[in-house]
């Protein structure tokens, strides 16, 4: 129950943060944290919630969120063969990859719908995404591993 409450709080805090910083994903760090727990049902539920939230809030057609989180999961699984999964350096690389992916994915999905997107803004958002992701992951990691959830994590 505590564990569920924690993940609900992560989602709510992520949405509130996204309201303050437009164009940046604050749920991705939670998703990676869930992946690191290696409890796949938890990761899937979190991914499902995040995809629905991002798709619903966004202005692009459905599909961007799927690719976004799918690519993030793929990068995580690929990267954790090369790096320690909970290494901060790995998170910095993941953040940089997300920044690049934000530009590519937004331009690609917008062009598929015959829309135009201001590239300057995408660059700025990509940089913010790359910086915010490892910091947010670090914060969530510290909080999560200092909360009395050890029992809940083992259940």
């Amino acid at each position: 129950m505590l564990n569920l409450l924690w993940w609900v709080c992560v989602v709510i805090a992520g949405i509130m943060a996204q309201r303050q910083v437009p164009g940046v994903d604050f749920l991705a760090a939670g998703f990676v944290l869930a992946l690191q727990e290696e409890r796949w049902t938890k990761s899937l539920w979190f991914a499902l919630a995040a995809i629905l939230i991002q798709e619903g809030d966004g202005s692009l057609a459905f599909g961007s969120g799927l690719i976004w989180y799918g690519a993030l999961a793929a990068m995580y699984f690929f990267g954790h063969y090369l790096f320690e999964a909970k290494n901060f350096l790995f998170m910095i690389i993941l953040g940089a990859c997300q920044g690049a992916m934000h530009i590519l994915l937004s331009l690609m999905m917008a062009s598929l719908q015959d829309w135009s997107v201001a590239p300057e803004r995408l660059w700025l958002e990509a940089i913010v995404q790359a910086v915010v992701f490892p910091m947010e992951w670090g914060l969530l990691y510290i909080i999560y591993h200092n909360l009395p959830l050890s029992h809940a994590r083992t259940v």
Partner: protein, 309 residues
């Protein structure tokens, strides 16, 4: 007897001379005065100190109460100021008269762009299909058009702003009636009025209003003001730039214009009852009444695209 005699003698002598009274005044009275005066001062001081202490206790409590009252008053003042500002904004909103055939639906702005998929210039409002909203409805403020509904859920809607790169609104000059397409160029850039033929009159400062040529915006809503008009050499069209009438991003409440629901049709039950026996008698089936508006709503219409009117 001797003592009594001495006492009476002394008494009568003192009554005659008053020496003893004088001695008593000079000594006893003075001693008492010098003893009592500082004592009284000390007592008064002690009493004053005590009273002040009690007073200070009360003062401290009173100070705390006043500080609490002040904090409460400040909070109420902020609340009242906020309410006054809200009342002003709502009053402005309510002063907007919707065009004929349209009704207004007030909504609060919940958020601006949200999440990595919010690639377009949008805002989110707290009204959706439950309030009768659907895609491609005009969203306005008292000073002019804000945008149109892009995505709608039950209790929320995403509004595409007029300054987005994908926004296209058919407009015309309020004075010269020159027509064009108002295209957004991004939040920090002026909008462009496209397809204004060379030689068509359009003044700087002229108000641009919706021409009503599309299916989204009714005619006559102010949208922007012309800030620059210049010929572009060999091309067929002028280079016209326009600025929005106010900072759209500061909007906290907006109005969504929607068509009012059609009045319910007259019940035809009695008529049917009269007709049915005749038709049934002839072995014919009676067609159910057709409600055109409901069928139109149920049918997925091919929209004009995300930005176009």
């Amino acid at each position: 007897m001797l003592v009594l005699f001495l006492y009476l003698g002394l008494y009568t002598w003192n009554m005659r001379t008053g020496y003893l009274d004088t001695v008593a005044d000079v000594t006893g009275l003075e001693v008492s005065r010098w003893v009592l005066a500082p004592g009284k001062w000390a007592a008064d001081s002690a009493e004053l100190l005590f009273r002040r202490y009690i007073y200070f206790i009360g003062l401290r409590q009173e100070n705390e109460r006043l500080a609490s009252d002040l904090e409460k008053t400040r909070s109420e003042l902020v609340d009242a100021t906020e309410k006054a500002a809200l009342a002003g904004r709502l009053s402005d909103l309510m002063s907007f008269a919707p065009p004929e055939g349209w009704v207004r639906e007030g909504a609060r702005v919940v958020s601006h762009r949200l999440g990595p998929n919010a690639a377009l210039e949008t805002i989110m409002i707290d009204k959706g299909t439950r309030a009768g909203l659907k895609v491609n409805l005009p969203v306005v403020l008292p000073f002019g058009v804000v945008g149109k509904t892009l995505r709608v859920s039950q209790n929320a809607a995403v509004i595409l702003l007029v300054n987005d790169l994908n926004s296209r609104i058919p407009v015309m000059g309020q004075i010269h009636r020159t027509q064009g397409i108002l295209a957004g160029q991004g939040p920090d850039d002026p909008m462009e009025v496209q397809y204004v033929p060379q030689g068509s009159p359009l003044d700087e400062g002229e108000l641009l209003i919706t021409s009503g040529l599309g299916e989204v915006f009714p005619k006559g809503l102010p949208v922007a003001r012309v800030v620059k008009v210049e010929p572009t050499g060999p091309t067929l069209f002028q280079n016209v730039l326009a600025a929005p009438l106010s900072d759209i991003k500061t909007a906290e409440e907006v109005l969504v214009l929607k068509k009012p629901p059609l009045p319910p049709e007259e019940p035809q039950v009695e008529e049917e009852k009269e007709v049915r026996p005749q038709l049934e008698g002839k072995g014919k089936r009676l067609r159910p009444p057709v409600f055109d508006n409901k069928i139109d709503q149920a049918k997925p219409k091919p929209g004009p695209g995300p930005g176009g009117d």
